[in-house]
Symmetry: C2
Subunit: 342 residues, 2 copies
């Protein structure tokens, strides 16, 4: 019973099954040609020995590891977490495996993360946070690694760029506020300075201007619940108190709403209309019931993975250069109770 430490290799299985190692290899290679007889014998031997293909070795020779890196910061945040959930789900479904790289720490950590991806010869990397150096991305291409950027609001050549149309969202939000009779618009932002977040702000300002209104802006700390509370303290103590606030994120919106209600005793939506962004689960909780723009996380994930696997199949055929792919999704406004007259 006491097999010591030796892991089982294809060699061992071959020996036991009375075939060559190649036969074993073929048995575990989807498209290979093996007779039913040998396949059965091999499978039996493999079962008995507890053999499992070594993906390290396989990746080495195939030059395709099956690994896809997920590069992400603040992974415990509701929206990010759901994105990671769906990505890992669809990745697995496509026969890939997700390698999680946390970039919470330093600034250049995205580039460090991509180095890790190269180290493990990842087939692709999906970037949910930060922006990598140009140099490192080119190195990725050189290694045959494909790149997907989600919500980075910058298009990188030779990669899939997934973004949400924040201009559309901004217009919709302004219209909703106007219809609710609001006249004093505000935008509650963080100081994160992420391109996509900055974009939401500028688009909202522009949309308000288009409607002849000047929206005020406040920026505080990180993109969190706590920042939402602080933003409320700043915005709601202004001489001219806003009656409509677009929060850069649902998390911020929840904090804002809590502070507005519990500290300023304002009623939502009667005294104050609030719109958020992301449609995290908490927005649907009855304490918040937040009207918000949905980011289709599942769709992002599904499309990203599909792009990866289809691109992989083309690869051998195409000597041509990779084409860049940039997709702009339309946000859907989820009407709930934080804006009057839904």
């Amino acid at each position: 019973m006491a097999n010591v430490k030796t892991a089982i290799s294809a060699q061992d299985v071959a020996r036991r099954a009375g075939v060559s190692r190649s036969a074993v290899s073929r048995t575990f290679t989807p498209g290979a040609s093996v007779s039913e007889n040998t396949r059965a014998r091999v499978m039996k031997a493999a079962q008995e020995l507890g053999y499992h293909v070594n993906h390290l070795a396989r990746g080495l020779v195939r030059n395709r590891s099956g690994i896809v890196c997920l590069i992400v910061s603040e992974i415990a945040t509701p929206y990010r977490a759901s994105l990671v959930r769906w990505l890992s789900h669809y990745l697995q479904q496509a026969g890939k495996v997700a390698m999680l790289i946390n970039t919470d720490r330093s600034d250049n950590s995205v580039s460090l993360a991509l180095q890790q991806a190269i180290n493990f010869r990842a087939d692709a990397s999906i970037i949910l946070s930060g922006m990598p150096d140009k140099a490192i991305t080119q190195l990725c291409y050189k290694h045959g690694q494909r790149l997907v950027l989600i919500n980075r609001d910058e298009t990188l050549p030779d990669s899939l760029n997934i973004n949400l149309d924040s201009a559309n969202a901004a217009e919709t939000a302004v219209m909703a506020f106007l219809r609710a009779g609001c006249r004093h618009l505000a935008f509650a932002n963080s100081q994160a300075g992420t391109p996509s977040l900055t974009r939401r702000e500028s688009d909202f300002i522009a949309a308000a201007a288009q409607a002849g209104l000047q929206a005020v802006v406040e920026r505080v700390g990180s993109t969190s619940y706590e920042s939402g509370r602080q933003l409320a303290q700043r915005l709601l103590t202004r001489h001219q108190r806003p009656d409509a606030v677009f929060c850069v994120t649902d998390l911020v919106a929840c904090g804002f709403m809590d502070e507005a209600r519990h500290r300023f005793a304002l009623r939502v939506p009667d005294d104050l209309c609030i719109v958020g962004f992301d449609n995290i689960p908490q927005s649907g909780w009855s304490s918040y019931n937040l009207t918000t723009f949905a980011q289709p996380a599942e769709q992002f994930a599904c499309d990203a993975v599909q792009w990866l696997v289809t691109g992989e199949q083309e690869e051998p055929a195409a000597g041509a250069e990779l084409r860049n792919d940039s997709r702009l999704y339309q946000p859907e406004l989820v009407w709930r109770g934080s804006v009057r007259g839904g």
Copy 2:
């Protein structure tokens, strides 16, 4: 400029630096002995060529991949997400990398996940959901893979078992309820049937009995916000309405509280005391302000990783059998506003 597709190998670097591949290898191996001179030459050549060690090949020969699998379901849930965040954090700090395996789907998927772990010759797996077959775990040992179980409430031999002392929590909760003047205790559970969740229930019943009280129990669906609402509908329409509820999870508690307030117009904690479990961020949000037991996710993660890396160093020395390690952490009651008289 247009290097085609060839990835750079140690061979290339050696050639350019005018040394042997061994020298290159040593340069990138922490404890090896290389002269400053050659090291510098190698580093320069590596930089220029964009060389990155191939961890697949390295793992193959070293029989240590640096990969640690995180096996987890419902990863988008706040507590799980924070656990994953901390695990990936400490793993990276220890020079490891996290491979995320999502087991949301079927039942035996934990065993499937462990197979994946074997495929990639993971150094270890950390299981946050479900329980694996005995057979597969033994196969893991055979491959030198270490196992950590978090909150599985069953001890597996030759692995690290991390659990929270739910008996202690139960007693503390009952005492808190009694001191608040509550007499009709209830436990709100899901139908998940996870050992650790079942345990919380039975321990609470026992602690209540110890105090001469008979706690009622209700079980509904998955361990979610939505279930919390439904549980409230069931428990709060009973002939004898409970005045104190221990919810199996904060998520459930939030749903319960929302329903109690918004549908039953009950005041918390005046009409109803509620205690949760996990201390997720939302519990601290001012709409909930939930008194709850904290699960020290960061500590779990830190300790688990430490156990892994120290165990790795021992490994060569110890011909002896691996000792089992079972740790019981004490939950800390975070007093907030959902129980009277904190």
